[in-house]
Amino acid sequence: MISIENLDVRFGHGTAEVHAVRDVSFEVARGEVYGLVGESGSGKSTVLRAIARLTPGWTGAIRVDGEAIGHRRDRKAARKMQMVFQDPYGSLHPRHTIDDILSEPMEIHNLGDRTRRIRGALEDVGLGPELRFRYPHQISGGQRQRVAIARALILEPEVLLLDEPTSALDVSVQAEILNLLKRLQRERGLTYLTVSHNLAVVAHLCKRVAVMNRGRIVEELTVEQLRAGAARQDYTRQLIAASAGFDREFARSLVTFE
């Protein structure tokens, strides 16, 4: 469903140039849930944004459902693929009601029957119809993220790009959102590409995981390998150990990987 070949992304010019993504290739099958894990600056979000056509200036090839993705925004690709952002406080327009927010994609793509679709979308993500005309600041963080998911799904895309979908939320709310994402994926056979710094979240959602560091994919492994501690690279092993909690001896042994 998604195929990335030799993706390279650079920002800036001359001495200020940042080589954010270096020669990244991977494939995601239809209906598969795939995760990119890494620390900040690893380039994982940049990959996602290049696929969503939000980052210009990349080289390589990105294909979604067999069709090459260009550098410009186009409406056809938008219907096939939607994105959920990390911060539900920042991804909803502060002056638009939930109704406005959910209507917007339908207005862009000239879809009719909006009232029915909005009611359905709210129901799908477990929100009551009484929230429809509220503003984002009148609902909780978890409800906002549900609205963001409803907005992404209202165009009935086949691919969802999830950029740290739960890292701004409390653990209990995170559990609800992860369950929702899992249920929607199963019911609709969606393809997910998830980016996160949290190994446990990625392992919970995904089947296969690519670990990124400094713009490169360090290694690709299945969730079973990840859980069994079968990582081949030292970087991955260190990341796994650091996620397990604080350990004095371990903290002293940390190394930086170039």
């Binding site: 056509r53 939000l54 991804s91 327009h93 002056r95 005309f133 509220r134 600041h137 165009l155």
Partner: protein
Amino acid sequence: MSVAAERPGGIRGWLLSPSPGSRRQARCQRAYIGWIAFRANPIAMTGLIIIASLVLMAIFAPLLTGSDGLQPELENRLQPASAAHWFGTDQLGRDIYDRIVWGSRITLYIVGLVSIIVVPIGMAIGVVAGYFGGWVDNVLMRITDIFLAFPRLILALALVAALGAGIENAVLAIALTTWSPYARIARAEVLTIRKSDFILAAQAQGASNFRILRRHVAPLCLASVIVRLTLDMAGIILTAAGLGFLGLGAQPPTPEWGAMISNGRQLLLDQWWVPTVPGIAIFVVSLGFCLLGDGLRDVLDPKNSGG
């Protein structure tokens, strides 16, 4: 439901209901909550009352006055304030109170016309420059800088001198010298929201740039532009009065306040009321706009109210 029964009913209940049932109700609710915040601010309310009085005065001018303030009555020249002439009369015997009331229309006309020209131009240039960045930004902002670099009154003087005296030309001159700060404000506002996730979300949905500017970016800049405009009103009125004073704005016998001061300036020592009363009118209205602008800033600024 017992919970619903505890809430105030009627229009207030509708305005404060936590689950609005339509877009219109949601918008009214937001306006109402803004109004509650505005009402709690006594300085802003003072400003609002002054400006509201000005508007009412302009609308009901025929009912509030005994004459149109244009006809000379030379037998009544330079009368001091009395029951018949509340603010006295000028050198042509015209009632100053009547002229002030009719002059409020001219003041509002100037202010309104300037806003209609300045806000769209400033917003359009600022929003486009801020959103697209790069060379578009450079070109548009250098043009803005050129207009910013001219002293306002001098540029207005030059324009009026070239176009000829009169209210419309004065308005045009003021508008041309006023729009540039609005472009700067709108651009600054866009720069802070350009990289927001909700703009990226709209892009990911396939929205065109024009749509993003119109639906997502411009509404967020409007608040600071309106606040700035209200605060600028005082300056606009003073510039208009200045042009009137120099004889380049409204022409006699139009009761424009600046021109009234100008005509009465030789009388300041002996018949002080002739230039002083329009001066006070200008002062009060300018003050009213400033206070109103201050209050609006507290209510409208998204950075203060948290959305």
